[in-house]
Symmetry: C2
Subunit: 328 residues, 2 copies
DNA sequence: GTGAAAGCGCTAACAG
DNA sequence: CTGTTAGCGCTTTCAC
């Protein structure tokens, strides 16, 4: 069995083309060279099937190209779509993407940041887990960070969906339908959305009821427990808004389990549109978020080193289907 | 504003500990050293918050650690779960994972393989796109590949779900319900499953009808077109098996659109269990696949260089819900 | 048990 | 315009 042979290096190309390695390097990175030399180098490189080693370049430049991506959970449709957006943009720049899942846990996040630093990744896109304190050391070390979906510190640029407007629209819609006892099933950390929720209610003159805002952790179990608890303790509520698709899923499941009919007994609006929202019975009214765009724009931001806006906010859209009805 | 300062190198640690760089390297990689020296080096490294640069190590070793992962579509729940399994295993080894989406297109796949080679990634897990011909050069170059979900060449180890058994169980179930006109809505390339389908039908003495096997490409549009076409052209069919969750989604949608009631007019079994299958109306009977395990095991295989079994086959499970009924 | 030194493939500074 | 050369941080002989 023959060994996997040594790969072609820049030196091989230089020798074969009868030029110095620097010339090869220059030609390949678009530097100046005479037309004749350029052609000869290019031809030789092609003939030898030469591919520059990212290893050598990275070490030399003290930074590995490519971008790191940290999301809470890749099996959540929202983050999967966001990831898809990042990959789509990164690909057009030829940049590889290294991904890690944080489980929405600052500790795991910190560990993953460590790994990225070890790899000398200096560009990362992250859906931050906690209050963003985890990022202080990385930022101090000069890491180029862009936040996606959540904005937890103002010294980091970010791309987010317009939470406030989305929540406001949904609540206005629900109130317009006559609902007063509206619950918000949120994930821990969704303070933006919760604030928008209570603000909107207040602005519409609907009395606040702190007990109608409940929180769950980012797991299916926790979501289900919170949803079921809400339905059981508060038989008086007539509408629910959920802060994400997993919470919506839990609510549909819990409602079915507890024989709460949607929309007859309670109306439901879910944050985030997912393919199954339409297949659900009844089809779910949702606040659609441009998940893919969020990822794409974040990648653009982190790749174009230039001007770095504070925060990019992308619009959301209320999609009315059949999970809401007038207050009974 | 002060510059991002140079990171601590092995040399810094060596100087601070009063030893040579070789000793630091040895200690940190578990080589031999006197207890006293070891302790001093470790203490110094910790004090300086030293993190070895993967760049240096990789260049020296002519291979970047970490593993490459190529999937057709990260927004497909199945591949997202598979990815999650890979990440989960890779994390326990501290190995970073670089991901790429192929769109199930050999050309894009080839391009991504090129990127991986450029990064000197020598370990990759892939859901191969075409007939596996794309992989020949990479294999020749010594790349360490493990296939997941699909086995398209026998010189590459792989981890797959037990297609044949899954399809057989589903078909037997359907035939047991009295169905004879059973269609299979497959993705291009699912020859295993199609073969299992026709084989099982034959073994049960159900006459074959080639027109009842239809193929779609790996996009929502294509899936929907195929599903709708099937329903419209073949009003005589009484049951459908779909080769994946996206095809199942399309079938549910098309059925609704065309006022075909499930399970009253046609029974449906979907390959792959997804969270929404239970939320669907009616809840879908499915063949569950251990997507996460497939990813996990593939990662184990590619990380443990040792013995390399041909193919690991993981069991599937028929989960009966409410989308199938007796032949009307 | 330990240190000095070579060198992985590449780019950038500097000469010519 | 082009070649020579010096490292980037690390591991691994090879002497001591």
């Amino acid at each position: 069995m023959n060994m996997a042979q040594r790969r072609t290096t820049i030196k091989d190309v230089a020798e074969a083309a009868g030029v110095g390695v620097a010339t090869v390097s220059r030609v390949l990175s678009g530097g100046s060279a005479s037309a004749e030399t350029r052609e000869r180098v290019l031809a030789t490189a092609a003939r030898l099937d030469y591919r520059p080693s990212a290893l050598g370049r990275n070490l030399r430049q003290q930074r590995s190209g490519g971008i790191g991506l940290l999301v809470p959970d890749i099996t959540d449709s929202f983050y999967a779509r966001l990831t898809d957006g990042v990959l789509s943009c990164a690909r057009s720049y030829g940049e590889p993407v290294t991904i890690g899942v944080t489980g929405d846990d600052p500790e795991q996040e910190a560990e993953l940041i460590g790994t990225l630093i070890e790899q000398s990744m200096d560009r990362v896109i992250a859906v931050p887990s906690g209050d963003g304190e985890t990022w202080a050391p990385a930022l101090r070390a000069g890491l180029n960070v862009v936040f996606a979906d959540r904005q937890v510190r103002d010294d980091v640029p970010g791309v987010v969906a317009d939470d406030r407007a989305g929540v406001r629209t949904a609540v206005e819609y629900l109130v317009g339908l006559g609902h007063k006892k509206i619950a918000f099933l949120a994930r821990h950390g969704q303070s933006q959305r919760v604030a928008a929720f209570t603000d909107t209610l207040a602005s519409l003159g609907v009395p606040a009821d702190p007990e109608l805002v409940v929180h769950a952790r980012a797991s299916r179990d926790s979501a289900y427990a919170a949803a079921a608890g809400l339905l059981q303790h508060r038989a008086d509520l007539t509408a629910v808004l959920t802060g994400g698709n997993m919470l919506g899923e839990a609510m549909v499941l819990a409602a079915r389990e507890l024989h709460v009919r949607i929309p007859r007994d309670v109306s439901l609006v879910m944050f985030d549109d997912v393919p199954w929202a339409e297949l659900c019975s009844p089809p779910l009214t949702v606040i659609a978020q441009p998940a893919q765009d969020v990822g794409y724009r974040a990648a653009e931001l982190v790749l174009r080193q230039g001007r770095r806006p504070r925060t990019v906010t992308l619009p959301t859209e209320l999609i009315v289907r059949a999970s809401c009805g007038p207050r009974r």
